[in-house]
């Protein structure tokens, strides 16, 4: 029952925020914050319950009708880290949009419904619910970008929607094919395995939507436009959580339903991942717009996730999960900072910045910290995931890891050059009266910083959760190491 709460609570909060929005601007913010904090508490309770009976896959499903079970929530080790990440970023997103005064009620309502939809994706127990929640995520995001975005938000919102919708439409065909074969509709109970020749093209159908969402290399061009135009809270949720349902979908649906297809596709996926790492880093280095730089860095980070998944080994999957959770935290923090800076300077041109460390020391320290985490400095959350993806990738694909190594170096290049151009050097004249990060922003950033450090020092916390599920997946893949 606790799982349903996780999905329903934000929805109720959304409705309350929307209704209260009419009267005054402050009420929806308080409601939104209350709801997200409550949801976080519930998700922690769910975690405790999961840890109680270790590899319990406690599920809740309304199976009134004997026919196709549609609404079934499953909270297991693989889903839980992402659910917690969503709850945490939900709070950060609400705090990040504290000063939104253009229809705050609607804004917070959309944020909460986005969070509910994403949580539902992670907890989805049936193929149809997985798809429905996957699509439901698009609507609030479309309006968030469209209504509260920046200059050419109209184009970005439509492009984001159609691009992702195209991918997920193909995924729908894949899901329906899987449904026709397995009938049950509940994720995981594949009574009769799908014939191998079908699996080959079924994997690509299923993976289509996910590769767009991750984003894998050639399918990434919607990301920078969507990020640059999205409001701060939108970017945080978009980068922090929306990119994860792609990787999660691969592990949860694409691989179990089409293992043979996955094995055939693994080298291509690895190739796309590696290109993503190098390409994303190169693009980030070439950017003059700060938010676009962070967007392309997401492409680079998610390249590691794809690489980790394509190895097909238990540690590879673990690396992918770690990289995803860490990217959620790091990208969330980066977008929070970039957003808060934009609110005060109204420009994202890196060239106009310089020497901010002197003027806004707290902001600058957080930005340097986030950049170091983003380049995968050990001791911070970025390192374990990328390290595992790297060594397991080497185990499977050998010297193809050299370009990935170049990507690791380029990550340091663009991150540090961004820090230097923004923080160091002489203070740019026009920012002499710039205010430092406000307390609300610091309170929002604090949990992210702590989580980044904790996850960097002790990744075992997450790995302990995902172990049983990952073992199951590797079993399906034929007892890969």
């Amino acid at each position: 029952m606790i799982l349903v709460l996780l999905v329903v609570l934000p929805l109720l909060g959304a409705i309350a925020a929307a209704l209260s929005g009419r009267r005054n601007a402050q009420l929806p913010r308080v409601i939104a914050l209350g709801t997200t904090v409550l949801t976080a508490a519930v998700s922690i309770a769910a975690l405790v319950q999961l840890l109680g009976d270790h590899d319990a896959m406690f599920a809740w499903s309304y199976t009134g009708e004997p026919g196709m079970v549609v609404f079934r929530l499953v909270g297991d080790g693989l889903a839980m880290p992402f659910v917690l990440l969503t709850a945490l970023l939900g709070i950060v997103a609400v705090l990040a949009s504290w000063k939104i005064d253009d229809a705050p009620g609607a804004h917070h309502a959309l944020l909460l419904s986005l969070q509910a939809a994403v949580t539902c994706v992670f907890l989805a127990g049936t193929l149809l619910l997985f798809y429905v929640a996957w699509e439901a995520v698009l609507i609030p995001m479309f309006f968030l970008i469209g209504k509260w975005g920046h200059e050419n938000r109209r184009h970005a919102a439509l492009k984001f929607f159609i691009y992702t919708f195209a991918g997920s439409a193909l995924m729908l065909v894949g899901l329906l094919v899987a449904l026709t074969y397995t009938g049950g509709g509940a994720i995981g109970d594949i009574t009769v395995p799908i014939p191998a020749d079908v699996q080959v093209w079924l994997f690509w159908l299923l993976a289509a939507g996910m590769l767009v969402k991750i984003p894998a290399w050639p399918l990434h061009t919607w990301l920078p436009d969507a990020h640059v135009e999205a409001p701060t809270a939108g970017s945080i949720m978009l980068a922090g959580v929306l990119l994860k349902i792609g990787g999660y979908g691969l592990l949860r649906v694409a691989i179990p339903y089409a293992p043979e297809g996955f094995k055939a596709a693994a080298p291509i996926l690895a190739g796309l991942g590696i290109i993503g790492i190098v390409y994303g880093a190169l693009m980030a280095f070439a950017q003059s717009d700060l938010k676009r730089l962070v967007a392309y860095s997401s492409v680079a980070h998610m390249g590691f996730v794809l690489l980790g998944i394509s190895t097909g080994t238990a540690l590879g999957f673990a690396g992918a999960v770690l990289a995803m959770v860490s990217h959620g935290l790091v990208a969330g923090l980066l977008f929070l900072l970039v957003g808060s800076l934009y609110e005060r300077t109204h420009t994202r041109e890196i060239a106009r910045y310089g020497g901010l460390a002197a003027q806004v020391p707290r902001w600058a320290t957080l930005f340097t910290f986030a950049a170091l985490a983003s380049l995968g400095l050990p001791g911070l959350s970025g390192f374990p995931g990328e390290f595992l993806a790297f060594i397991e990738g080497f185990g499977e694909f050998g010297w193809w890891m050299i370009p990935a190594g170049i990507g690791v170096f380029l990550a340091a290049v663009y991150n540090l050059s961004a820090v230097r151009r923004v923080n160091f050097g002489p203070l740019a004249g026009e920012w002499s009266s710039l205010a430092d990060a406000s307390t609300v922003e610091l309170v929002a950033a604090l949990p992210l910083v702590v989580a980044i450090i904790v996850l960097g020092v002790a990744p075992g916390l997450v790995l302990r959760l995902t172990d049983p599920v990952v073992r199951g997946i590797t079993m399906i893949l034929g007892g890969g190491s």
């Binding site: 999957f317 400095l377 080497f394 690791v408 540090l416 230097r420 050097g425 002489p426 990952v470």
Partner: protein
């Protein structure tokens, strides 16, 4: 003592905690908290001494850091004699540097950040040396790099400082990527990253693969220890505060490369080709760095190139298989080079400039700094009775046995070492003061560390026997022939420097003209730096922006937006069918039926 020695984790956790405390303390409590920064290195030193005294290595505190589905990546810490020696070095030097910094950085307003980073560095360095798994070593390795980045770029307002910081991190990062590839290859071949297991499995790995692993690890070491061609970052790293240069860029971090090779010695042992490469790189770096040092005019740049050259000596010894000699030279070098750097720090503090042409006659004005500097320079040049003589002799002897030609190059390098060492000494400490400031000796807090470091610089030479035993090597006797040759060569160097000094200070000016083109080459360190910026860094920016403008915006994004425009175009074409004429519609109906009918018939045949 035993608490610290027995429990390596505390030796790492304590500095991190202290760093947090210092940072949290902020400006108000800095005058108190800065002393906390001293506690961290002291703890490290005590732990080292504890193990050395009892010579009982502590059991490894291993933990399954990353485990999933049966395969495990362990992380852990342990202290054996080699680690203990490094801990003592790091501990002693760091303590002196922190104490010195309290005086040196007295009037800087960002002291909490400075001392917090120093504590953080000590923690990271001790993690690096105490690592019992390659993963922990790599973590320490990169954290040390990050601290050096933050400390070089400490005075971030100076654009040159922030550029140097980025350059340092990126160049060492190239080495780290090489090392990462080595780790990955080890993981694939041996299935584990814990050092004891890897070293045990080393002999069975195929000759080819083990050579590649050794070379990759050496790339990492070369990056961190600034060996050719990855040395370009060290001279620029002098932008950081001088105590930082003393700690990080003279004694500890740069020595990590040597430590890595010694720690992973069983792997290098079975890879002779790799050892030859190490030897060649070591000798090349030693000689060329020494030549460049001879024409530098900035006191810290001289010392920086001297460090690169001395590290070249150590790697040459490693290449020749003499890990004991290399470690002994590393230890003595740490002592006298840190002393020289702190000495230069106290000089710069006094005369507010780093250009030796505006100094002179400081021996009289700053007696303590002067005398300790003389001790340091005496040891650096390998003159008899001080530690440099013994350790350098061991290095040159082992290299001569292994490769005579390399030995001669090293001897030439030691001549140049003596020359540049005393060239600086004559012009800074003798003659009359040419600068405009009024130099005076720093407070006790600055002079005490100098004296403290002078002691090991003098005495260490005589402890080579116990030092070698603790590292498990038998102590060779001093080779009289080699000793004689190296002393004479050192004396020649000194005399040459004296001759140069005799010709007066303007002689430094005319150096440029008299040496002609050679001077330009030497001064710019063979143009390696400008080569890199022109042929590697600048093109990267151009390639990146071309890729962005053309590939991303036009090709990939173009394809996405293009399909949308294409569908719109087809829409306009297809709508042509709706002309509005009634007869067209009716005929469309008729023709449509006929077409469908014929298809049906054709299919049904």
């Amino acid at each position: 003592m035993s608490l610290l020695a027995g429990n390596p984790l505390s030796v790492v956790a304590l500095p991190f905690a202290l760093a947090l405390l210092i940072a949290a303390g902020g400006k108000k409590f800095v005058s108190i908290t800065q002393w906390l920064a001293v506690v961290a290195p002291v703890a490290a030193a005590l732990a080292g001494v504890g193990v050395l005294a009892s010579s009982v290595p502590t059991a490894a505190q291993d933990v399954a850091w990353l485990s999933q589905g049966g395969s495990v990546v362990t992380a852990g810490l342990a202290i054996d004699n080699l680690t203990a020696v490094m801990l003592v070095i790091v501990g002693v030097v760091a303590t002196c540097v922190v104490v010195f910094s309290i005086g040196y950085m007295a009037d800087d307003d960002a002291r909490p950040r400075y001392f917090a980073l120093l504590a953080l560095f000590t923690g990271a360095m001790s993690m690096l040396v105490m690592a019992s798994s390659l993963v922990t070593l790599f973590i320490g390795w990169e954290l040390v790099g990050a601290c050096s980045y933050l400390l070089i770029g400490f005075w971030y307002r100076k654009p040159s400082a922030s550029a140097a910081a980025v350059k340092a991190f990126l160049t060492t990062r190239i080495g780290d990527v090489g090392m990462l590839l080595g780790l990955a290859l080890l993981w694939r071949v041996t299935g584990s990253l814990s050092i004891p297991e890897v070293l045990a499995a080393a002999p069975e790995i195929g000759a080819g693969i083990v050579t590649v692993i050794a070379l990759l690890l050496f790339v990492g070491a070369a990056g961190k220890s600034a060996q050719f061609p990855l040395h370009i970052w060290l001279p620029d790293a002098m932008e950081g505060p001088t105590p930082v240069s003393a700690l990080i860029h003279a004694a500890t971090m740069v020595a990590a490369g040597v430590f890595l090779v010694v720690r992973m010695w069983p792997v290098f042992e079975v890879a002779p080709i790799a050892l030859d490469v190490v030897l060649v790189v070591g000798v090349v770096t030693a000689f060329f760095a020494a030549t460049v040092a001879c024409v530098q005019l900035d006191i810290k740049k001289v010392l920086a190139y001297s460090t690169i050259s001395q590290l070249g000596f150590m790697f040459a010894a490693l290449g020749a298989g003499a890990t004991g000699a290399a470690m002994f030279h590393l230890t003595t070098h740490a002592a006298f080079k840190a002393l020289l750097f702190l000495g230069s720090g106290s000089v710069i503090h006094a005369v507010e400039t780093q250009d030796i042409r505006e100094m002179g006659g400081l021996l009289k004005k700053m007696p303590v700094t002067g005398t300790t500097w003389l001790i340091g320079v005496w040891a650096l040049s390998g003159l008899p009775l001080l530690s440099g003589f013994f350790s350098k002799d061991g290095v040159i002897a082992s290299v001569l046995h292994a490769a005579p030609l390399a030995g001669y190059a090293l001897i030439a390098a030691s001549l140049l070492t003596a020359f540049y060492a005393f060239r600086v000494t004559w012009f800074v400490f003798f003659g009359s003061y040419r600068g405009s400031a009024h130099p005076h000796e720093g407070g006790l807090v600055m002079t005490a560390p100098l004296i403290a470091l002078a002691v090991p610089a003098i005495a260490l030479g005589y402890f080579s026997a116990p030092f070698m035993q603790s590292l498990g090597h038998e102590a060779e006797a001093l080779d009289p022939v080699v000793a004689g040759v190296s002393v004479t060569v050192a004396v020649i160097g000194v005399l040459l420097a004296a001759a140069l000094y005799r010709l007066g200070v303007d002689r430094l000016e005319t150096e440029r003209t008299s040496l002609g083109p050679v001077h330009g080459v030497l001064f710019s360190a063979y143009g390696v730096d400008s080569f890199v910026t022109r042929f590697l860094v600048a093109p990267l920016e151009k390639v990146a922006s071309w890729f962005y403008e053309v590939v991303d915006r036009k090709v990939i994004d173009g394809a996405a937006e293009g399909t949308a425009k294409l569908t719109m175009l087809f829409g306009r074409l297809a709508s042509g069918l709706q002309t509005g004429e009634t007869d067209v519609y009716a005929s469309l109906l008729g023709v449509g039926f006929v077409v469908l009918m014929s298809i049906a018939i054709w299919l049904g045949r």
